[in-house]
């Protein structure tokens, strides 16, 4: 049985300019210990998908609907607030993109590390403090004994992200959601943080949902990849398959956009056009207006994720029809 099974998740924001369908019918599942990468441009709905699971989307203006998001028998979309609160930070933990703003500047590192334990476990402060120190040492913060009493502004970005990771893992969650955990960091620090997450995952057997806009980061890290565009899933596949044989033009375009993939001096490849305005749904495939392979049918037929063989699913009509082979 899967650890988490999400079925037809839909999150919309009701704004003055109409309804923005940020997440529009996303389904996926993740097993214990597995790593799932969610890839897509800014605004493709990857963060909102994960925030919705934990009920962290502000409501109103947000509205979370869907057939279900079942975490071992508990439907996260329909359980009472208290149950969901008991899951946050204990069974499902989250790391955010910007470690500079995601830690409370008015509280010591120790207080913040202890907090998940004090909220969820029957534990006294002394024991919680011991565990906090241990957690900080495990994520490789030097001189943890002294530094645990300092405040976030006394830490560098990389060190703060280590604190975030320690804080997320201290409650021994089954699922860790990492929302672009390395985007705000220097490249050298990025690699360290990725290593740290991978190492912690191996040690604890925790499942990870790894959100990124960077395919190469996901490539080295995830078992499976889910590519999102305009609030929908356009392709899911094993990581290797996605790279060897993408089954959706958008995935291929994302790959080609990686600067490392291009010859020195050559002009960088960019996907033409802009992501669609999610408050004005277009008929058919949302990517069609920017797609070099699009035909007239693409804007007429509703997009649907379909199995295209070898555990790979694609929402591309032409791939499904066998008209298109990408590499």
């Amino acid at each position: 049985m899967a650890l988490l099974e999400v079925d037809d998740l839909r999150t919309s924001f009701h704004t003055r300019n109409g309804v923005v369908r940020a997440v529009d019918g996303v389904s996926f599942c993740i097993d214990r210990g597995e790593t799932l990468g969610i890839v897509g441009e800014s605004g493709s709905g990857k963060s909102v998908t994960c925030l919705s699971l934990l009920g962290l989307v502000p409501q109103p203006p947000g509205r979370i609907e869907g057939a279900g998001a079942v975490l071992e028998g508990i439907d996260l979309l329909r359980c009472p607030q208290e149950v969901l609160r008991g899951i946050r930070g204990r069974r499902v933990a989250m790391i955010f993109q910007d470690p500079m703003t995601s830690l409370n500047p008015y509280m010591t590192i120790e207080e913040q590390l202890m907090e998940p334990l004090l909220i969820h476990e029957k534990i006294d402060r002394a024991a919680a403090a011991r565990m906090a120190l241990q957690a900080l040492q495990e994520v490789g913060v030097p001189e943890a004994e002294q530094r645990i009493r300092s405040y976030p502004h006394q830490f560098s970005g990389g060190m703060r992200q280590r604190v975030m990771i320690a804080m997320a893992l201290i409650g021994k969650p089954d699922l860790l959601i990492a929302d672009e955990p390395t985007t705000a960091l220097d490249v050298t620090v990025q690699a360290q943080i990725l290593d740290l997450i991978a190492q912690q995952q191996r040690q604890r057997g925790v499942a990870v949902i790894f959100i990124s806009h960077d395919l190469s980061v996901v490539a080295g890290f995830c078992d499976r990849v889910m590519v999102m565009y305009a609030g929908r899933v356009v392709e899911t596949a094993d990581t290797r398959a996605v790279f060897r044989e993408p089954k959706h033009p958008y995935t291929r375009a994302l790959q080609r956009s990686r600067p490392a993939m291009q010859a020195k001096g050559a002009e960088l490849y960019v996907i033409p056009g802009l992501p669609p305005d999610l408050s004005r749904p277009v008929p058919g495939c949302a990517f069609a207006p920017r797609c070099e392979f699009a035909v007239a049918d693409c804007s007429r037929t509703e997009m649907q994720l379909q199995d295209v063989g070898a555990g790979q699913a694609s929402a591309c009509l032409r791939v499904q029809r066998g008209e298109l082979t990408l590499q």
Binding site: G89, D98, T101, N104, P105, I119
Partner: protein, 305 residues
Amino acid sequence: MLRLIVRRILETIPVLVLVATITFFMMKAVPGGPLDTEKNIPQEIKVQIEAFYGLDQPLWKQYASYMGNLLRGDLGPSFKHANRSVNELIAAALPVSLELGGIALCVALLVGIPLGIAAAVRQNTWIDYLASTTAMAGICLPTFVMGPLLVLVFALHFEHFNASGWDFPRDRVLPALTLGLVYAGYIARLTRGGMLEVLNQDFIRTARAKGASETRVVFRHALRGGLLPVVSFLGPGIAGILTGSFVIETIFNIPGLGRHFVTSVFNRDATLTIGTALFYAALVVALNLAADIAQAMLNPKQRAN
């Protein structure tokens, strides 16, 4: 930290000298003198009185002797209140103003902060609108409207309180409410603004993701940062609230410091004017320092600087 405090205290000395000097010469520049309102003083008596107070001396000599006395902490004799020094007058009125101001401050904090928090947590609901409107009304209603209104309702109609006076403990209620509700309005608005800013920050989402309850999010994570604007307002705010209000002291007939502020100018009682101005300036400076220290305690980032 200690060095900072000592430096700040030393910095107040030129401020106070400046306040004393400016007020001194302004009072000298105002036409008229303390004896103008007395009727038909014989010339020789007037000369004698002026000689007694040193008013016959050249201006620079008057200034020098005033500043000399000031150095010893002597604010000089009052020109109007016979046989009483300015020190005595302030010492007599201050406890009254402190008591009124202290109670009013409690009212302001106990009403303003909860109101502001409620408005911020329930932003754009009827609770927010009600709280914000009440706060705005508290700010907009002048004390000379609010005071008589409270008297009309609670003293004249319900007869719970005396309409004026400062003799019984319950005489404190209406003036303290009048004074406190104005400040409660400001504090509520500042609390709401500060809390809203903090509640929209990323670390609040982190707290929620950790499973923190709404109460925990508001009081443990948001309040410390949300109250920073209130603390910086309270520096000058407390000085104003403690030194009393001429209007409220007049409405309720309270023997506080606020009256001296205004009447001493009308009486051309120069020493009392300078004395009260200096006292107020010293209080403002001291409380601003206190507010800065309190802010540093709340904000670890500032503490480092």
